[in-house]
Amino acid sequence: MSAVLQLSNVVKTYGDLRALDGIELSLPEDSYVSLLGPSGSGKTTLLRVIAGFEQPESGAIRFSGKDVSNTPPHERNIGFVFQNFALFPHLSVYDNIAFGLVNRAVDPVTDMKLLDRKVRDMISLVGLAGLEGRATTQISGGQKQRVALARTLVTEPQMVLLDEPLGALDANLRARMRSELRMIRERCGVTFLHVTGSETEALAMGDTVLVLDRARIAQQGDSDTIYNRPCSPAVARFLNCYNLFSGKMADGGFATAQGLLGFQGHPQRAADPAYAIRYDRVDIRPAGAAATADEVQIEGTFIASEYTGSAVNAFFSLDDGKVFEVEAHLSHRAPENYEPHRRYALAWKREDALVFA
């Protein structure tokens, strides 16, 4: 697959703050890419630089084979779907969607019949039929989302940037729009770059997932790789499914505040050393239970648990006050009752641990 968008060494600063610090990036054609990053990691800045709303201090942006670093946004043919949708408040749903075709500087559509056909096709593609004449204040959040998407897609951009597109929707709608976004993308055959702060959204939607950390791309890979083999403690932290211990390498294991923790295989290279174990790889046992040779075991005091339907998340306080989370999937076992303030043993297999050093 050839790359539709390539960024090399892109730097953007605001005063002293380096919002983008040498971004290297290459996005494949016709795929769904999600960009995960905590707030303040530079996600929105990256999108705005790609769209052309912000000028980077240095670096090159190549889009479908051309250097677009100095091209104004309206000549880039990159669609942008705003977080707050940014619909034109004085125009109807139909006119919002027709705006780009009628008003673009390059090759505007003047044939009213063609325009009407294109707009109506797009309206039915995103499922807005019957709402053409409504004002944008008279439609629901999900419908606004669709108008924003349709308005961009109808201009047939070669790539669409979505800035937390599901952030303004309620949880139910968010889940439905996820599959719909993927479906719409497949029908259009263009690359979507979807920025989100939610790790589940990023993993669920992206064919490729990018993780942005402190103004740099920390990792790029498919969902499975990102989830199971995060390349740094920071990435593991964003995924929100790893217990992390800081410490340093020692003989026969990794030395942390909890003592020497064993692991198998080679540690991964990373700037700040850490030991990570996934929430759902931990077994809870009565205190004092014996661990087998291939296991690591620590102790903690049970604080509380959280029932999420398919799983129970139990929280333990370790001796140094750190909170340790365990996720038990209920498809395997019935929920167990733990007593608050009582000590339990927490055990996991050495081979399940990830070590960064």
Binding site: F53, P73, N77, G79, A86, G100, R104, A105
Partner: protein, 299 residues
């Protein structure tokens, strides 16, 4: 639960249908009383007096159409009406032409909110001096030996002073535009400041250039500001008499000047006729402007 909610709703609706409660009436009373005594009553009185009989030295409450007929057959009065309408239209256009770009700059291109406020306050600074000084200050600017003529002659653009600058319709228009421009800038800048910047970015992203965006997005969204500004300027210019008196050397007579002269020579009936005509004109202008944009929906 649902039933009780529905009954509650019906009750509130009934209360609303029964008219405002006692408390609402008390809140309304001072305002209504004030408006009745000092707006409705004088207006009615003015209309009534316009039909009184005016003789040279006195006025009698005998109803007659004489003053009205005099007004609409006299070239002086009709000329004043026409001058008022003409100057109003020119000043209105001038304040939009001068004020809109300024408002566009303050409201849209200045991103810093503090700087925005500072610039708007700068627009208001001329109002820290009195009205008369602001008007009279134009005399040494525009006069035959005024600043503008002196400068133009010094740099050799003209050899004779331009006399039309002062004591002409032009000087009245210049003076009024300067004084009332800020009433146009304020509302427009306010509306422009409320436009979500991402809407303009979205339009750019969809491929539209600046002038397209201005015509299709910025201008329609700022129209309520233009209408509010136009109402302010219209009401003030239509009722003007001081600027024209001070800057035209009594050559330009507006309806306001007619009223002042008539009242000065105790011709109350004529003054009342001019007053009624002016009030109707203002009412029509405001009503027409409100038809352009539904302000209740926009603000």
């Amino acid at each position: 639960m649902t039933m009780t909610a529905v009954t509650e709703e019906i009750k509130t609706e009934k209360a609303a249908a029964n008219g405002p409660s006692g408390k609402t009436l008390w809140l309304l009373a001072p305002g209504v009383l004030w408006m009745l005594l000092f707006l409705v009553l004088p207006l009615a009185m003015m209309l009534y007096v316009s039909f009184w009989t005016q003789t040279t030295f006195k006025i009698e409450p005998t109803l007659t159409l004489k003053s009205w007929i005099t007004f609409f057959t006299s070239d002086t009065y009709l000329g004043a009406l026409w001058t008022t309408v003409r100057i109003w239209l020119i000043v209105l256009a001038a304040t939009v032409v001068v004020g809109y770009p300024a408002a566009l700059f303050v409201g849209l291109f200045v991103k810093n909110k503090t700087l925005q406020t500072v610039l708007l306050v700068l627009c208001v600074i001329p109002f820290w001096t009195s009205f008369l000084i602001r008007v009279l200050a134009w005399r040494p600017m525009l006069g035959k030996e005024g600043a503008i003529n002196m400068i133009l002659m010094k740099i050799g653009i003209i050899s004779q002073p331009i006399e039309v600058l002062l004591f002409s319709e032009l000087s009245v228009i210049i003076g009024m535009t300067q004084i009332y421009c800020v009433f146009m800038v304020g509302p427009i800048a306010f509306m422009l400041g409320r436009i979500d910047p991402s809407i303009i970015e979205a339009a750019k992203d969809l491929g539209a250039g600046f002038w397209r965006i201005f015509r299709t997005i910025i201008l329609p969204l700022s129209m309520p500001g233009v209408v509010v500004g136009a109402i302010f300027v219209s009401v003030m210019v239509l009722g003007e008499f001081a600027t024209s008196a001070a800057l035209s050397g009594r050559k330009v007579n507006l309806l306001g000047n007619i009223i002042v002269t008539q009242v000065g020579s105790l011709k109350w009936a004529f003054a009342a006729v001019a007053g009624v005509v002016l009030t109707i004109l203002m009412g029509a202008v405001v009503a027409a402007l409100l038809r352009v944009v539904d302000l209740r929906k926009e603000l």
